[in-house]
Structure formats: C-alpha cells, structure tokens
C-alpha cells in the first residue's frame, strides 16, 4: 500500500509505460534497443507471430518442450506398464500360444499413451506457463490497445524493471519514434 500512497499525489499506480508502433519491424527494433538500454521486464504485443521478437526481447527459451518430452515418456511408460500388468499378472490369456509378454502387441498402446501424455502436458503446460486463465491484465486499461489484435504493435516496459523511471523511460520510449507513449494503470 505504501507504493500506492507514493503516487496518489499525481495518478494511480502504474503497471508500466506502453509505446505503440505501426509495423512489426519498428516493434522488433524498439524491443532490441530497449534490451540494449538495459531493460529486462518488458513485453511486446502483436496481432501476428514474430519469431525475431523472442531474441529482441531477450526472452529465455520456453520450458514447454521439456515438459512435453517428460509427459510423453511418462505416458509411454504407463501404457506399457498397464499392458504388462494386465497381460502377464492380472488376467493372462493364452492367445495362439504366444508368450504372455508379447511386446510387439504392446507397442500400439504404448505409442498412443505416449501421444496422449505429450499432448496433455502440452495443453496443460501451455496454460500453466502462461498463467492462464487470467481474467484481468492491466494492458487492457490502454484504450488504443484494442488494436493489438488487429493492426498495431505494442511494447510495454513494466515498473518492476530496476531501470524503470517514470520520466526517463517515457523519454526513452519517445526516442524510438512510436505513434504514442501511454501510461498503463495498474
């Protein structure tokens, strides 16, 4: 609450400062320059995927592929274990004189549960790592932000960044030649 009190003299608490750009190229170069200027707590918003942004923002690689791999391995092992347990221990059946542990027959189920485990961990992992569902996010307080899903590109430097300074950061964003710079209310 102390933080809020400090700002009550002029305006409500800030989430950050947002600059609006007209092209993806301008956004990428702005993000690059912000990173070079030392900013780390920032995010970019774009209506289309821009692969170069990950590097420009200095984002660390997502851990999702590792989660999916683990999910696949766990899924596959459980599928095989289920087959092994049911066919050799719980309810062994003699089928055409084949051994109870006929591993080639277990592979299709193992494959399916591998895919299931990987797909489920991709789905759940994607939601969890993105902290979804998220019913409220401060960036939507900026009226112009509706165009982030249509034809405008935004870069938001957040107040949690150690280098964030209300005036210096605003000046810095202005130097990137955006359409405009807006304060984002908390």
């Amino acid at each position: 609450m102390a933080d809020v009190m400090a700002h009550t003299d002029s305006s409500p608490a800030l989430h950050g400062l947002m600059a609006e750009f007209e092209t993806p190229t301008a956004l990428v170069s702005a993000a690059e320059r912000a990173r070079l200027a030392g900013y780390r707590h920032m995010d970019a918003y774009s209506p289309i995927p821009i692969e170069e942004l990950n590097e420009a923002l200095g984002l660390r690689r997502t851990r999702l592929p590792m989660l999916v791999l683990l999910g696949g391995i766990v899924g596959g092992m459980s599928g095989y274990a289920l087959e092994y347990w049911s066919q050799t221990m719980a309810y062994p059946l003699n089928i055409g004189g084949r051994p109870f542990h006929s591993w080639p027959h277990f592979i299709p189920v193992t494959f399916e549960t591998t895919v299931l485990g990987a797909a489920l961990s991709a789905f759940v992992g994607m939601w969890a790592l993105n902290k979804l569902p998220m019913p409220y996010h401060p960036v939507f307080n900026v009226p112009a932000f509706v165009r982030a899903s249509r034809d405008r590109f935004f870069l938001c430097i957040e107040t949690t960044d150690p280098r964030f300074d209300r005036h210096a950061t605003a000046q810095f964003l202005q130097s990137l030649h955006p359409v405009g710079v807006t304060e984002v209310a908390q």
Partner: protein
C-alpha cells in the same frame, strides 16, 4: 541479393572431377568383381543402385510436392531438379541388374519355376519379358515427368508464368504415377528376390525410403551451397529447420511402416510370411536389425527433436550423412539375407538353407562406382542452371518468412 544470375559456385567443377575419379576406381573394382565373383557383384550392384535411385526418385517426388504446395522450401527446387535429372543415367545403370537377373531372381529359372507350384501361379506376372516391359514403363514415365517439369521450370525462370498451372497439374498426376510405379518396382526388384514372400506395405516402405534419402542428400548439398555465393545469403537457419523437420517425419514414417509390417506378420504368424523375419533375426543378422532400430530410428529421432540441431547446418549435415549410410544398410538388409555367403540366391538351393551374416568386398565397390558416377551427373546438372528458381511465385515468401510454418 547482389548476384541475380545465381550462377553455381565455382569449385563445383573440382568436385565433379573428383566424383568421376572415385566412380572410375569403383567401376574398375566392379569390373573385377564381375569377372571373379559374379553373383556377389550383381547383388552388391542392386543394393547400391537402389540407394542412388532412391535419392533421384525421392527428389522427383519432393519436387512435385513442392510444385503443389508452394511455400518456403522452393529454395531447394534446383537441387531436387538436378537430382531427378540423373534418371537417364540411372536407367543405364539398371542394365547390370538386367544382366544379373539369373543371379538375383529365382523365378527367371524355368526349371525352378516348373518345380514350384506357387511360382507357376505367379508366372503370369513374374516372367522375364513382362519384368523388362514394366521396367521400361517405370523409367519412361519417370524420365518424361522429370524432363517436362524441369523444362517448364526453366521457362518459368525466363518469365513465362503460363507454366505455373501446368506445373501443378502434371505434379498431381505425376505423384500418382510415381507412387504406383515405385510400388511395383519394389515388388519387381526387391520383393521377388524371395518370390514366396509378400507384404502389402512394401511399396510404401520403398517410397518412404526415397523421401528420407532425398532429404538427407538435399541437406548435404544445401550445406555445401550455403558456404558459397550466391546461396550463402539465401539459405537461413529456418530453411535447414524445415529440412530437419521433414527428415524427422520420414524417420518416424520409416519406423512406423517397418514396425507395422513386423507386427502384422508377428500377429498373423503365417508360414508364408514369418521366414522373412526369422532370416533377419538370426544367424548374425539380428545385430544388423538392432543397428537399424537404434541408428535408423532411435538416435536420429532424438537428435532431430532438438531445434538447435535442426537449425545448425553443420550439425544437421552429419545427421544427414549418417541417415544416408543407414539407408544403405537398410537396403543391404532387405536384399542380402536372401543370399548364401557364396553369393547364390538361397531360394535356388535345394534343401534347407539359412544365410549367415556376411559382407563382400563388392559391397564397398558398387556404392563407390555408382555413387561417383551419379554424383558427377548430379553436379553436372546442378551447374547447368541458376541454383535458385528465381521466378518461383513463392520465392519472395521463401526469402522473407522465418516462421509460421
């Protein structure tokens, strides 16, 4: 893009003469093999021949898919074209297989067919005359398709955009012809070595092998081109990532088809089908089978999962080289366990016989001979045209895009 003519790199002639020298040495060794150990020579020649035919036919298939799909991988079109334009040479290199029919295929022996009821029933299809007519049809069709497509592609380079739709129509029909012809070729040239055995998946396995061989070869050539002007400015990590992703898909396809074939035979447990797998899982051949499971599937599968391995051509190219070697071993495994270590086809020998793991020196000579001559032909074709299809309607997208596919 300073150089709009896209002339191929200058040192291509150096590699051409090297390839021809290697091919010459290999051919000499093969000639000796033909004289001293004819049965082994024919078997080795067939295996090596199938490897390089796979690269050419796979490239033809990928070229047609690229015409149909468009998209960012158009930068590889000239490699596919040069590689499939080696088909006339491959038609000539098929002649030793025709010469060696009596060594390779038991159904070419009339006395053997007369004694074998199953072969008597199959004689309407498996006879020398029809075999040759079919081979003629396959090659005529493949060469005609390749020549027409590459001719139109050349016209497209010169600015004739009316060919664009024709390229797509012929590619659609051409893919159907290619797949059918390759399925029958697989039956004729590999499956009929053991004329009692049959598998309905065999043609798809053959075609899937073409795709993988062609992709691995394209990765190797692209890595070379990416080091030189004019392609050094064009080929980006995401292009290699695309080739890597497709290779991963074909590695999985190979494993999927092979396992499906194995599982069906294992489940049915029929006396006509199981000897094929018994031969390949005993007498030393089981080690080759294990090698294939590990290095044709498991290891490349996990290596190709990694994004870094796919985007770095210097890592990807080693995976590609290894995959080509594994393609050769896979073809070796399809053919060789049907032969005795003396070189005769097992099915021609009277009584019970089993093949024990063996490798003959001609198995090294034949890939050198065909590989050398074939590479010379490929490089000659590659040098004749701009290394990029400059009027590909999707080229702008290919050069700019870096994601979203």
């Amino acid at each position: 893009m300073a150089d709009m003519t896209h002339t191929p790199p200058a040192d291509i002639d150096l590699y051409r003469s090297r390839a021809l020298k290697i091919g010459g040495v290999g051919l000499l060794a093969c000639a000796i093999g033909f004289v001293v150990d004819r049965d082994h020579f024919f078997r080795s020649w067939l295996i090596a021949y199938l490897l390089f035919l796979a690269i050419a036919l796979g490239s033809m298939g990928l070229m047609m898919i690229q015409h149909l799909s468009g998209g960012a991988w158009g930068v590889f079109r000239r490699i596919f074209e040069a590689s499939s334009r080696t088909l006339p040479l491959l038609a000539v290199l098929f002649l030793p297989v025709v010469l060696g029919m009596h060594s390779l295929y038991p159904w070419t022996h009339p006395d053997h067919v007369a004694e074998d009821e199953i072969l008597r029933h199959k004689a309407a299809y498996l006879n020398v005359g029809f075999f040759l007519v079919r081979a003629l049809i396959y090659f005529a069709g493949w060469i005609l398709i390749t020549w027409t497509l590459t001719k139109w592609s050349r016209q497209q380079d010169e600015g004739d955009m009316s060919v664009n739709i024709r390229l797509q129509y012929l590619s659609g029909g051409g893919l159907v012809f290619y797949t059918f012809a390759a399925t029958f070729a697989a039956i004729d040239w590999i499956m009929s070595i053991n004329p009692h055995w049959y598998s309905t998946l065999f043609g798809f396995l053959f075609v899937g092998g073409h795709g993988l061989a062609a992709l691995a070869f394209t990765i190797i050539v692209s890595t070379y081109l990416a080091q030189h002007e004019p392609m050094s400015g064009v080929l980006k990590p995401h292009h290699f990532q695309d080739l890597g992703k497709l290779s991963l898909a074909f590695v999985m396809l190979w494993a999927y088809f092979n396992f499906s074939q194995y599982l069906l035979v294992y489940a049915a447990n029929l006396v006509e089908e199981v000897p094929y797998f018994i031969a390949r899982t005993s007498h030393g051949w089981q080690y080759v089978a294990l090698l294939l499971v590990v290095f044709h599937f498991a290891v490349p599968f996990f290596l190709l999962l990694s994004r870094d391995n796919k985007r770095n051509p210097y890592r990807l190219v080693w995976i590609a080289v290894a995959l080509l070697v594994m393609r050769y071993i896979d073809l070796f495994m399809l053919v060789t366990p049907e032969f005795a270590s003396t070189g005769e086809n097992l099915h021609l020998l009277t009584g019970e016989h089993a093949s024990s793991l063996f490798v003959h020196w001609t198995d090294l000579a034949a890939p050198l001979a065909i590989g050398g001559v074939w590479s010379w032909m490929f490089l000659t074709q590659l040098a004749q045209r701009p290394v990029m299809a400059v009027s590909d309607p999707y080229l702008r997208e290919a050069l700019e895009s870096s994601g979203g596919h």
